[in-house]
Symmetry: C2
Subunit: 319 residues, 2 copies
DNA sequence: CTGTTAGCGCATTCAT
DNA sequence: ATGAATGCGCTAACAG
């Protein structure tokens, strides 16, 4: 059995309250006694029961993390960052998968409340209005979402990407996105459009609309640059081009977003825009703890994306 | 404020004990009263505080999941499966990242115990002896690990892979693995070796030993088949070959393990050996709940891997 | 400065 | 069949 406050109190002939005070440092306890108590506590390997404390204080020391789809290749990085940031400030992390739909998201929220989570970090589905649920919430999405607490600047990321290819002399660029349903992807595409020079030709291809895109034909039509809203689609484009005998970056440049696990490992390595998940996570957690602990609210934060130049982008071929 | 047992008891003029009994179904409560209580409970949207219950029963309804490295592209799938399996039997999942080392793993274990986890699912680092920590544990690793509770049959997966390429007529095969430090990878390689015909040439390339492998040269040396212990390395090989002008699967076949997110999306799509993470997770959770609830212990389980034939493997080219 | 008391929400005796 | 009393481990308020 784990030692309790009572055990160490009885051993020293003092009250549990005094032990509690001595350990938490809150109390008015003589330095001498405090040290004796602390020594004893370490000797007995005492570790307070967070359950007892939770019942008393109403705070469990656990926060919930709700992801739309854990298996999405970007979320692991987030989960890891959130876990690290939470641990650093003494919180545990309970995960849940909303299975991409609003019902699942609400279920997850409910379960976390019942489990006694002190707050929630949520990466929402688009269109989910965060109804106020009397629990601190930090939303990680994109700056254009009103409730957003912390996120990367996806739109500016789009600008940087489009600028990069244009700087390399590309004049006809294909933008590849998955679903209009994602605020993040929409913002990235918007940013790209904004940064386009008047004389640059471009077209957006939403994968949800089309059957599988034929990138080789696009090159035949004169496209030399490809920007995908995720490294996953960039990889798909890159391998399809290679297979069709079109050298990357010799004849076409390809870039993506998010610097996924494989992006540096492929040949050619993939130029991409990365988000600083650690910084975003740290900030989201700061938002949450500020709400939980009632300290001054933390400003919303937008973290810039950074261009990682690798081998898949190069000057456009001479026409 | 959330309604408590007391609120509903007071409203109905009965005692909290009766309400508790009525709701849990344990008690000797008249059917009529029981129904009235239940109706009231639903009406008030009562949901028991798991914290109070935890303190009383010693069970929190939370299990811990310790991963060596959340950002490893395979683990998301596991995390998702574990979360789903746990939810199905009414448990929440607390995650922790052991950062790949033993210290981190122990820290994580300690934190989970303090948080009151009822049990732990752990994917261990190799060589970690699971010291008995008085808490139910389910280990997910590989059958050759003694403590293993549930896992895929990695060795047999290796056999299937080697057999697949040999069936296609490949006579000289390169086996690519990352680190001897991983039991899983070792077992996969062992299985491949076992299944090799006497007249098949093969060689194991451990990436930890070498600088970046030159796959194009290997083809020049006569290798026509490549089996990597992870789709990540298979992808690296595939793109390198394509870039070197070697058609896959025309001149060389490539296959991997784990059916990662990108494996179906690339061109050519990747032949791979998949593990049934849902089944493994369900079983790991069953092991755990059996221990937690003191029911009959569950047998260890080994789940077969399944070959997913895609476009990256084909009959060996005529010599 | 220290100890006593009370009660967080629940499930479980034991008495009625 | 139901209710009153108890205590899980802890901390906040109050006495001493």
């Amino acid at each position: 059995m784990q030692p309790k406050l009572r055990d160490i109190a009885k051993d020293l002939g003092v009250s549990t309250a005094t032990v509690s005070n001595a350990l938490s440092g809150n109390g008015r306890v003589s330095v001498e006694l405090r040290d004796r108590i602390r020594a004893k506590a370490t000797a007995m390997a005492y570790s307070p029961s967070l359950q007892g404390r939770a019942l008393r204080t109403g705070r469990s020391g656990v926060i919930g993390l709700i992801l739309p789809d854990i298996s999405n290749p970007l979320f692991p990085a987030f989960a890891q960052s959130i876990e690290a940031a939470a641990e650093k400030v003494g919180y545990g992390v309970l995960i849940a998968d909303s299975h991409g739909n609003t019902d699942g998201q609400n279920d997850a929220l409910l379960r976390m409340m019942r489990q006694g989570a002190d707050g929630i970090v949520i990466i929402p589905r688009r269109g989910t209005r965060m109804k106020d649920l009397g629990l601190p919430v930090a939303v990680v999405d994109t700056p254009s979402t009103p409730e957003n607490s912390a996120s990367a600047d996806h739109q500016d990321g789009g600008r940087i990407a489009a600028q990069h290819l244009q700087d390399l002399g590309h004049k006809k660029i294909a933008l590849i996105a998955d679903s209009r349903n994602s605020s993040v992807q929409n913002d990235r595409i918007e940013g790209m459009k904004e940064a386009m020079n008047p004389d640059t030709e471009y077209c957006v291809f939403w994968q949800e609309d089309n059957r599988r895109l034929d990138f080789v034909s696009l090159v035949a039509e004169g496209y030399t640059g490809f920007i995908a809203t995720s490294d996953l689609y960039a990889l798909s484009a890159l391998t399809q081009l290679q297979r069709g005998g079109i050298s990357v970056p010799g004849l076409a440049s390809v870039m993506g977003f998010d610097d996924l696990a494989f992006s540096a490992a492929i040949a050619p390595s993939l130029t991409t825009l990365a988000q600083d998940t650690d910084q975003i996570a740290t900030h989201a957690i700061a938002c949450l703890t500020a709400q939980i602990e009632g300290t001054a609210p933390v400003q919303k934060v937008v973290v810039p994306m950074t261009l990682i130049k690798r081998d898949s982008t190069k000057a456009a071929p001479e026409t």
